[in-house]
């Protein structure tokens, strides 16, 4: 999907060597405004939907349970876990390929064991030991061994695909048949969080190798297993892939050999359906779950279906370029303060819709190390006006750049920019809106030539360390002209957060860092958009997971 490029806005990296495209995958619910196409597709989908409806009652697997139909706007490229990093791909891969660790019940602050029976980190956070469950087996009945884990991890690294950065600096070794040891070059307390990413699902090394899979260096050229994995899944998860079509639908069938608690639904159909049609489908019972409605659409569904509305791990932020060569106005510290306190964060949430939340700091609210909502900046017009006066600026005029064709979880960035413009007008700052198509806007954003920019950052994995990119001299900061030597205090705190190993140390360090960044610097975190999940009332146990939307295997 075109919007994927936009995640590319994250691209480049905090972790050395991450490929430029790595972020491009994780852009969920980012859609190009392509109304005519959408209408055509909608019509086609409605036809398809009519055809698919009958299946709901027919297919009862041997364990009973029926079919679950999930509607989403596809962002899908491959069923090969070693290459997948797209939102839909991650959702589909999750119940097919079990990972060593996972996040239970949508709680991403704590990785819990899945294929591993427990895990242990050394005090220096450089060695991680994972004893494997002996009962775990693949869908063909072969037991899961340490060899499979090492093969899968090495394969991800050597494929050099989008998820490869997750294992940068990590060496996987099989201590014995049922113990995996991961060692890292530097202290890496965030590793368990990355291990829980569905891209690091464990594949059956024997069958994958037999079908051209390779975990050796040069696998990016030598590995031929993608096509095989698109047709036939080789994981140890509760579901198997029985149909895989990147443009229409993916069908998962229950793995009757599953080693853990078997899921209730015998079959899960994930269909590519545009957001407007999803609303109709859930109401008519055509599908059970919709993942892409906007908060404004959700209002109409309430009462007739269950609706979850929660903030996503995406942070929409504004920056004022700190580089005087780009703009002497925006690099002025007092001007930055005026913008920070001139924004009406509550009114921005109104644009984003119910379920969105003000971003207290740059780290999303439900991650370890997030700032308390009480610490969020509140609008203070007199303070903003005073700062503007102190800067010696009288009705300054500044250009605000943004991608005009992007909609994230129902938020049109043009609308958000228009609201920012109205907010700042009230404190005496004139904003000229400079919209551009994503591709063009990304260029000016990446070379750091935007005086002010309205962008977003989506978490690559649920840990605060992903946000060090916003500290002086790092990836995003350079785009905002915030050079390495610009703010020694923030840089020092960032260094402290990076090297802290214990959980409590890390939480304190990241909180301090964000508080400092809320006082000074070019970034103003605005909000986290709302994810809307609407489901038919027959679906039980519905929970939102910030990384893979829903646990299909846990639905009852």
């Amino acid at each position: 999907m075109q919007g994927n490029q936009a995640i590319g806005d994250n691209s480049g990296s905090t972790t050395a060597g991450r490929s430029a495209g790595s972020r491009s995958a994780r852009r969920r619910a980012v859609r190009r405004a392509a109304a005519p196409v959408a209408v055509t597709v909608a019509a086609a989908m409605m036809l398809a939907a009519c055809g698919g409806a009958k299946k709901n009652t027919d297919d009862k697997g041997e364990g009973g349970g029926g079919t679950l139909v999930v509607d989403t706007s596809f962002s899908l490229k491959t069923a090969d876990p070693g290459r997948t990093f797209e939102p839909t791909g991650i959702m589909v891969t999750r119940p097919v390929y079990d990972t060593l660790l996972t996040f239970a019940n949508g709680d991403v602050t704590k990785p819990v064991p899945l294929l591993a029976s427990s895990y242990e980190a050394s005090p220096d956070a450089k060695t991680f030991t994972f004893p494997l469950r002996s009962e775990a087996k693949f869908s063909d009945g072969t037991p899961v061994t340490a060899k499979d884990v090492v093969f899968s991890f090495n394969r991800v690294k050597n494929l050099k695909g989008n998820p490869a950065f997750l294992l940068d600096g990590v060496t996987a070794t099989a201590k014995d048949e049922h113990t995996v040891v991961l060692t890292t070059a530097a202290a890496d307390p965030a590793l368990p969080f990355r291990i829980a990413t569905p891209a690091l699902g464990v594949v059956n090394s024997k069958t994958v190798a037999a079908h051209g899979g390779s975990d050796a260096a040069g696998a990016d050229q030598g590995d031929k297993a993608e096509q095989f994995l698109n047709g036939d899944s080789q994981g140890s998860g509760p579901y198997k892939i029985t149909k895989y079509d990147v443009s229409t639908e993916v069908i998962l069938t229950r793995n009757e050999n599953y080693w853990g608690t078997k899921p209730k639904y015998a079959k899960v159909v994930v269909r590519n359906v545009p957001a407007n049609t999803q609303q109709l489908n859930v109401l008519s019972g055509e599908s059970q779950i919709s993942l892409d409605m906007s908060p404004d659409q959700a209002v109409k569904v309430k009462g007739q279906a269950q609706v979850l509305q929660q903030p996503t791990p995406t942070t929409a932020f504004l920056f004022t370029n700190d580089n005087p060569a780009i703009s002497p106005t925006t690099s002025n510290k007092d001007f930055q303060e005026a913008v920070r306190y001139g924004l009406d964060y509550k009114s921005l949430l109104d644009v984003a819709g119910a379920g969105s939340a003000q971003a207290a700091g740059i780290v999303p609210s439900f991650f370890t190390g997030a700032l308390d909502p009480g610490k969020a900046i509140q609008r203070d017009v007199p303070r903003a006006k005073a700062a503007l006066a102190k800067a010696g600026l009288n009705n300054p005029s500044v250009d605000l750049y943004y991608a005009s064709d992007v909609t994230i979880n129902g938020i049109n960035f043009g609308d958000l920019a228009a609201r920012v413009q109205a907010n700042l007008k009230e404190v005496g700052i004139n904003i000229n809106l400079k919209p551009a198509p994503t591709q063009t806007a990304l260029d000016s954003y990446r070379n750091g030539s935007e005086a002010m920019g309205l962008w977003w950052w989506q978490a690559d994995y649920p840990d605060a360390s992903d946000y060090l990119a916003f500290t002086p001299g790092e990836l995003v900061s350079l785009r905002a002209g915030w050079k390495a030597e610009a703010n020694p205090e923030v840089s020092g705190l960032a260094q402290k957060a990076k090297t802290a190993t214990s959980d409590t140390e890390r939480v304190t360090a990241y909180k301090q860092l964000q508080e400092a960044m809320n006082k000074t610097g070019p970034f103003m975190p605005l909000l986290q958009p709302a994810q809307v999940i609407a489901a038919n009332n027959s679906v039980k146990n519905l929970r939102y997971n910030p990384i893979w939307y829903i646990d299909v295997d846990k639905l009852g």
């Binding site: 404004d296 644009v351 129902g410 049109n412 109205a422 919209p435 198509p437």
Partner: protein, 306 residues
Amino acid sequence: MNATRLFLGDRLGADRTPSPDDDAPRRKPRRAGKSPWRSPLAVTGLAIIGVFLIAAVFASLISPEDPLAQKWPKYQSPSGDHWFGTDQLGRDILSRVIHGTRISLPLALLLVVLAMVIGTVLGAVAGYFGGWIDMVVMRCADLVLAFPAIILAMAVVAALGPNLTNAVLAVVIVSWPTYARVVRGLVLTLRQSDFVQADRLLGASGWRVLAVDLRPNLAGPVAVLAALDLGNAVLLLSGLSFLGLGAQPPAAEWGAMVNAGSANFDAWWVAVFPGAAILLSVLAFNFLGDTLRDALDPRTARAIRK
């Protein structure tokens, strides 16, 4: 013969514009009350355009609110407070539709005049002088006509950068060839006429022939074409804005407003009212164009009626 009469008319009465009556045979005087301007369509068209013109001129006086003020709750359905409801940012849609006339009407007029002038001059020159000028101009016109107008306009705006000025420029670029083709055809048929030949023999230059002898004969058809093109221009401009290539936020432009409404069909009023404004203005301009054709170009009008 028609041409002869025109020639005589020109010689005798300097360069007066031929009145519609010139074309109608004098022996059969038209019955009173048959003026095309009195037909229901003409009256409707003029009335609508009149309303839009008043709205455009007095927009800030008659619109109830500031079109850019984001003071109200978003997606309020039409009510006594907001006749047309509010949009996704809580702006008053009635005020925005009224202010939209200030963008759509003057720009449509401007771009039609530009396209008309450029197209007419190029077409006349190509038709009269022929040769390589004709070749170059007409191949350029063919090049433009080979593409669907909106697609070419999109490409032009994409290349120049999305804003209203470039959108107008793009529409001018795609619409001049129509005028050039029509005018060239007319000039080709007229330039062998006796009255042109006579003027040439009297020593008139090519430019004088074009400006004095041919201009009055071209004015009618070109004016008709331009009037019919106005509706088209409004539609193309709104189309570009709908696609995000024309007016940029927060400007109140009809096409952009329809686009905002298409994001949420439940709030039908966001798209319906600006959409209706586009519909009405295009319809009115077409009525006006038809009437103008009946008045200035009765032969075509009669041919169509048959």
